[in-house]
């Protein structure tokens, strides 16, 4: 099965991004393909590397980054949603005159067309978060 994953909530406030991570890791572990994970709404906050959760808690952005590196997973953060919420890569930061970027390794910023494409290409598009 080829899955597309959509994550609509940020880490920690809602369990949805944990569930999305666990689903994605399990699907890959079972040999399924994950075409793309698309982060929208507050879900873009999964893509910042500047979060510092307590040491005895999980660090979701780091977990996503590690999963992406292991499986060459495509983690896409919506550019419009990310700009609103201050999730920037180096190019975006430069373009908008911001002093820093915060995108986590393995994530890339792109447009909503990537979400539609995931819906077209995947056998199942699974949405996490409200």
């Amino acid at each position: 099965m080829k899955y597309g994953i959509v994550v609509n909530t940020g880490p920690y406030t809602h369990q949805a991004s944990d569930s999305a991570y666990n689903f994605t890791a399990a699907a890959l572990g079972k040999g399924h393909e994950v075409f793309r994970v698309f982060f929208y709404h507050d879900g873009v906050n999964n893509g910042t590397r500047l979060g510092v959760p307590p040491q005895d808690d999980r660090n979701l952005p780091e977990k996503w980054s590690a999963l992406a590196e292991k499986h060459r997973l495509d983690l896409v953060v919506c550019v419009a949603a990310a700009q609103r919420r201050g999730v920037l890569d180096a190019d975006e930061a430069k373009r908008h005159g911001k002093s820093a970027d915060n995108i986590a390794p393995g994530f890339r910023i792109s447009g909503l067309g990537q979400l539609i494409e995931a819906g077209i290409e995947a056998d199942r598009l699974v949405v996490f978060g409200d």
Binding site: G113, I116, E117, G119, I120
Partner: protein
Amino acid sequence: MIKKFMYLNRKAPYGTIYALESLEVVLIGAAFDQDVSLAFVDDGVYQLAKDQNTDAIGMKNFSPTYKALGDYEVNKIYVDSASLEERGLTVDDLMPLTYEDEDDDWAEKPSIRVVESAELAALMEEQDVILSF
């Protein structure tokens, strides 16, 4: 490959960003030539309310954008009858969204159709992708 995409809108236009960011997906998605429909259920029916005025809350009134959907060939807009009724609304309280039917000499036709829950359920059953906002 053409798939059936339904955008399901369940939340009021303001108070959360979901309605606005749903509309952004619909507009971008229109470029992909898929079979697109929109459904408005629960407080989502307020997204289509006429004469929205956001001056007092300091937010952008994005409701005029819905009127452009017809130009993007997004012309299947389903509104849940029970959700309207529960809120004391009728179709006359909604913006009169229209499109020009190229198969009928570009006649202007209404895009909004009020449907019973059972019909909406049947429409959902037909979809390949449902994005709920």
